[in-house]
């Protein structure tokens, strides 16, 4: 076993000695001597890296924030993201504004609808009230066309015919008969009584003003009864 170890250990040791010797030789190179081109570039890169490390360390010491080593383009990416976030925020603000306008319009429309409904309810009540009023004002049905009572030439017969119709409940014929009698013989002795019965027929169908007129005529001439 000892022999193989010596076999591979010897070249390793030799290489180590050579390396130490080379290091000592390099350490002994004077700084005043000019560097070759390759070494100069390498030194520049190292100095640049050192400056960056110093800047990072100093920045961390001044701000107290943890030092984060990140690729150089991260700042621009963050800036880009910030711009996008700002754009999104502005868009959201615009949308919020539009929503506010829509909400306001909707509230206004709802209020207008409620007002309109209230007005409609009032109008419905007014229409119902007016319909009832109109219905109440509707005049009583017109009397059936009177059956012409042939006025006899004799006033007494004419009066008797109209009175017979009245007693029979034929108010329309009675009204026509008494009116005809009043027109023809109203100034005679039977005029007031004819007006009295004419007023009765008029009252029967609710013709109050005409009835009152006939009654006044009857009262005025009442002493002159037949």
């Amino acid at each position: 076993m000892t022999q193989p170890i010596k076999t591979w250990l010897t070249p390793v040791l030799a290489a180590a000695f050579l390396a130490v010797g080379a290091g000592q030789a390099l350490a002994q190179v004077s700084l005043d001597e000019p560097l070759d081109e390759h070494a100069a570039k390498r030194l520049d890169r190292m100095e640049k890296a050192m400056k960056e490390v110093r800047a990072i360390v100093f920045q961390g010491r001044e701000t107290g924030a943890p030092v984060v080593v990140q690729p150089a383009e991260t700042q621009s990416q963050i800036a880009g993201m910030g711009d996008k976030i700002n754009d999104v925020n502005q868009t959201l603000a615009r949308l919020n504004g539009a929503l506010e306008v829509i909400k306001h319009d909707l509230d206004q429309s709802r209020q207008e609808t409620a007002d309109q409904r209230a007005v409609n309810a009032v109008l419905r009540e007014q229409v119902a009230s007016l319909q009832k009023t109109v219905k109440d004002l509707t005049p009583p049905p017109a009397p059936p066309p009177p059956v012409a009572v042939a006025a006899p030439p004799d006033p007494a017969a004419a009066f008797a015919a109209a009175k017979t119709a009245f007693d029979a409940g034929d108010k329309a014929s009675a009204e026509a008969g008494f009116r005809d009698y009043v027109d023809k013989y109203g100034e005679g002795p039977g005029g007031p009584e004819a007006r009295f019965w004419l007023a009765k027929t008029l009252m029967a169908r609710g013709a109050w003003p005409d009835a009152a007129t006939a009654e006044i005529g009857a009262i005025r001439g009442w002493p002159r009864t037949r």
């Binding site: 007023a199 009252m203 109050w208 003003p209 009835a211 009152a212 009654e215 006044i216 009262i219």
Partner: protein
């Protein structure tokens, strides 16, 4: 006159109806009981004083 007062009440002329009834009872205090009873009814309807 009783009928006239009825017509006047129907026309809404209560005051005239009351005056007519006053004249009726004044002129014919001894009118038939049916007439006087009818006058009272009309008087009540016309709210005569």
């Amino acid at each position: 006159m009783l009928d006239l007062s009825k017509s006047l009440v129907a026309m809404g002329k209560d005051e005239d109806a009351c005056q007519t009834l006053d004249e009726l009872t004044k002129r014919y205090p001894k009118a038939a009981p049916t007439v006087l009873k009818g006058a009272l009814a009309v008087r009540a309807k016309a709210q005569c004083s």
